[in-house]
């Protein structure tokens, strides 16, 4: 009886603990053409809901079917699941044929070997490498390697500002330097209204913003040999500058520190905050009832007189399209990539989603001539830098994003934020990077 209960408890315990880490066995086969009539496509969530994405994409997939006779099975996957799904697909070898990836994951996923490399011959099949924007191609894999994906939708960060609130505070022009931004922010902050809204609980937003600030201070968070340099003086200065919005400048509401469900966009749209740094927020603001005439978009501030990397005002944001190496319909998959990156589809899809085309020829279309998109297109061409394209990029995103989140949390709780506390947090993040 006793041994029985013990062994039952052992089994229960063991089962609970280890089911979490269990996955299937991996396959190592390459692509083939054994199932040429169907494709599975994992799309990322670009629209206002998963349902909305289906409505946007289905008609286009029908067009593709009419042209080629290939039926595309669409699955729209929320961002919170996408990376885990891709990892599971990689580990099991059971994945889609074509999939969307966040472009910052490119190098990390490239390192797993799960994605089809786009070499010269592959690029030729989809219409050539030259059709794509250089900055977008640069964020599709590690430098010196064949890209693991091709850019599909492009986005960039801009500084959105509320024209009415600026006018009411007597500010004539949007800020062009950080000093101006902080100064304006202070003028705009009173009562429960704040100068700027940030998404402090969102790890990705944090890392995107401190990356831009890092570039301006002269660090990409990795040294020339690809080793992490998270706690360099430049990185500390960059992170502190961001955290100071809450800690010292007090131009962002302390409550921002726990925002992780796009509350900052809501705050901006409802006039609770006068500025917002966001990528392609137009469609999102519209859904909150904000009129495009009520806000302006300018590049994110940079240090006065900065040039080159120090004039970076945004990461190269965007979505890439990749082909799973294990696909059973290689030709069909490439055909589909060609279709989705054609000038025609690029105009339609980016026009609907409020993002920018990744192919040069589609950029000049009238749909992208709004002031917002023209500003963002300018940023993408002139002052956007890709996040570090290194295999450990996804670890970097998580660790630095979390470190900034922790710092913002302690700033919001009224604890002092100094260079020492920032450096301490960043050192901790760096120590958790895998040694290699």
């Amino acid at each position: 009886m006793r041994t029985h209960r013990i062994s039952a408890a052992l089994a229960l315990t063991a089962a609970i603990v280890l089911t979490a880490s269990a996955c299937g066995g991996g396959g190592s086969g390459g692509g083939s053409n054994s199932s040429p009539k169907t494709l599975t496509y994992w799309a990322s969530n670009q629209g206002s809901s998963l349902e909305n994405d289906k409505q946007v994409l289905e008609p286009e997939l029908k067009k593709f079917e009419a042209q080629t006779g290939i039926k595309v099975n669409l699955e729209v996957i929320p961002w919170s699941d996408l990376l885990n799904r891709i990892l599971a697909a990689t580990a099991s070898g059971q994945g889609p044929d074509v999939l969307n990836i966040g472009n910052t994951w490119s190098a990390s996923l490239q390192a797993t070997g799960a994605l089809l490399p786009f070499d010269q011959a592959t690029f030729d099949k989809i219409g050539g490498k030259d059709r794509f924007l250089e900055s977008a191609i640069a964020s599709a894999g590690a430098k010196g390697k064949d890209p693991a994906a091709v850019p599909l939708y492009s986005m960039a960060y801009g500084l959105y500002y509320n024209k009415k609130l600026f006018q009411a505070a007597g500010i004539a022009n949007p800020p062009a330097t950080w000093e101006e931004l902080v100064e304006d922010g202070k003028k705009l902050t009173s009562g429960d209204k704040y100068g700027i809204a940030i998404e402090g609980g969102n790890v990705s937003e944090n890392v995107h913003n401190v990356f831009t600030l890092g570039m301006q201070h002269g660090t990409g968070f990795f040294d020339a040999s690809g080793k992490p340099a998270f706690d360099s003086p430049e990185a500390v200065a960059a992170v502190k500058q961001y955290v100071d919005f809450i800690a010292n400048d007090k131009i962002a509401a302390p409550g921002n520190a726990e925002y992780a469900a796009n509350q900052s966009v809501t705050d901006f749209a409802t006039g609770k905050a006068a500025m917002l740094m966001w990528q392609s927020a137009g469609a999102n603001l519209k859904s909150h009832g904000m009129n495009p005439d009520d806000y302006g978009v300018v590049p994110v501030p940079a240090p006065a007189g900065a040039t080159g990397d120090k004039a970076t005002t945004s990461m190269v944001a965007g979505i890439n399209m990749a082909v799973f190496k294990n696909t059973k319909n290689l030709d069909g998959a490439l055909n589909f990539v060609k279709f989705m990156t054609s000038d025609e589809e690029q105009k339609t899809l980016n026009g609907t989603y409020g993002s920018l085309p990744s192919v040069k020829a589609a950029q000049s279309d009238a749909a992208f001539a709004t002031p917002e998109l023209q500003t963002l297109a300018g940023v993408l061409q002139k002052s956007a830098a890709p996040l570090p394209q290194v295999p450990t990029e996804s670890q970097f995103e998580t660790l630095i994003g979390t470190a900034v989140k922790n710092l913002l949390a302690s700033a919001a709780a009224g604890k002092p934020v100094t260079e020492a506390t920032v450096k301490d947090e960043l050192s901790k993040a760096q120590q958790q990077m895998p040694a290699s």
Binding site: M1, R2, R5, I6, A9, L10, A11, L12, T13, A14, A15, I16, V17, L18, T19, A20, S21, A22, C23, G25, G26, G27, S28, N84, L87, T90, A91, G93, S108, A111, T112, G113, A114, G201, V203, A253, P254, G255, A257, E258, A260, P391, S394, Q395, T398, L399, G401, T402, K405, N406, L408, A409, S410, A412, A413, K428, Q431, Q432, P434
Partner: protein, 330 residues
């Protein structure tokens, strides 16, 4: 008890055919009879093997491999790393080990408080609802509500309530009751521990309540009547009759609650998302971060194996200690 009964039955049956049938038939009979239960168990056993044992063994094997993003596509090619993953996890002066140890202590404190409070509330509520009164059924049903709700829906509601600026908790504490000078954060920073504890207790005490209510039904009424005649007050009745009678139920209940709470993943994950605040960094979330987010599955598995060993140890000690004490009592 039950073992003895079974023994007596088999003895009786074996005694009957003795001498009557040839020895070979008796052997086959005996074999056929004893094999049948095992045959019936076989499907369950296979399923158990497939669902529990295989992933477990896989997980243990993974712990000895350097299974990073470079190798997940083809596990076989991942190099063996011996005890390296364990060494990293157990080196408490280095960052990874230190963080794991911190997470371990947080989890221990959290589990003790959560199980203790759940049990206390459960036992109180079950004793109060023991005697019949108008609306008792309704109240019992209401108590069971948290247990019946889907975890995700319940916890996401809590996360809305805990929001600093728009949440219900701060509205009541700060705006209505003026208990705090400033609106506190619940989902980030040090308070997150208490937020997590609140949700966890809310979620698990109905189970304690249910189990203990069932246990109470087995206590004979006469015991209380006799005690009342002897002049025992309510408090004495609870201490001398109710609690000792509930002991067998409590033994199992506390163990199960302990295992569930210690391993709880859903609550912190839904409440805080992928990166839990330091103060509420439960071990299951920590392991998830170490494997899924940093893509180091070998490391995550090693931590899981360590957790498994710890829980096995606790369970074994617990069962050993409680069984021995019961033996002494008898």
């Amino acid at each position: 008890m039950s073992e003895k009964v079974i023994d007596r039955q088999t003895v009786g049956k074996e005694a009957a055919p003795k001498g009557a049938a040839p020895a070979r038939r008796r052997l086959r009979d005996k074999f056929g009879r004893s094999a049948l239960p095992y045959l019936l168990l076989l499907p369950a056993l296979l399923a158990e093997l497939l669902i529990h044992l295989v992933p477990m063994v896989t997980g243990i094997v993974m712990a000895f491999k350097q299974l990073t993003q470079f190798f997940i596509r083809d596990w076989g090619s991942a190099p063996w790393s011996g005890f390296d993953n364990f060494k990293v996890a157990l080196e408490f002066n280095a960052p990874v080990g230190k963080a794991l140890l911190h997470s371990f202590w947080v989890t221990c404190g959290f589990t003790v408080l959560s199980v203790g409070l759940s049990w206390l509330i459960g036992v109180t509520a079950s004793i109060f609802t023991q005697d019949a009164f108008r609306g008792r059924g309704l109240l019992r049903a209401a108590f069971m509500l948290p247990y019946a709700l889907p975890v995700f829906a319940a916890v996401i509601t809590w996360s809305f309530m805990f929001q600093r600026d728009t949440g219900l908790i701060n509205h009541v504490l700060h705006d209505q009751l003026h208990l705090t000078s400033d609106k506190p954060f619940w989902l980030i920073g040090d308070n997150s521990f208490w937020a997590l504890l609140t949700v966890s207790v809310w979620k698990s005490w109905p189970f304690a309540f249910l189990t203990l209510t069932a246990g109470l039904q087995n206590i004979p009424r006469e015991l209380y009547e006799a005690a009342a005649l002897d002049g025992a007050g309510v408090w004495q009745q609870i201490r001398r009759i109710t609690l000792p009678s509930l002991r067998p139920v409590n033994l199992v209940l506390v163990l199960v609650l302990f295992l569930w709470t210690f391993n709880d993943f859903n609550t912190p994950f839904v409440l805080f998302g992928k990166s839990a605040p330091q103060a509420a960094d439960l071990i299951s979330i920590h392991i998830y971060q170490s494997s899924f987010i940093t893509w180091n599955f070998g490391q995550g598995s090693a931590m899981s194996v360590l957790l498994l060993l710890f829980l096995l140890l606790v369970t074994a000690v617990y069962l050993f200690a409680t069984n021995r004490r019961r033996g002494e009592a008898e």
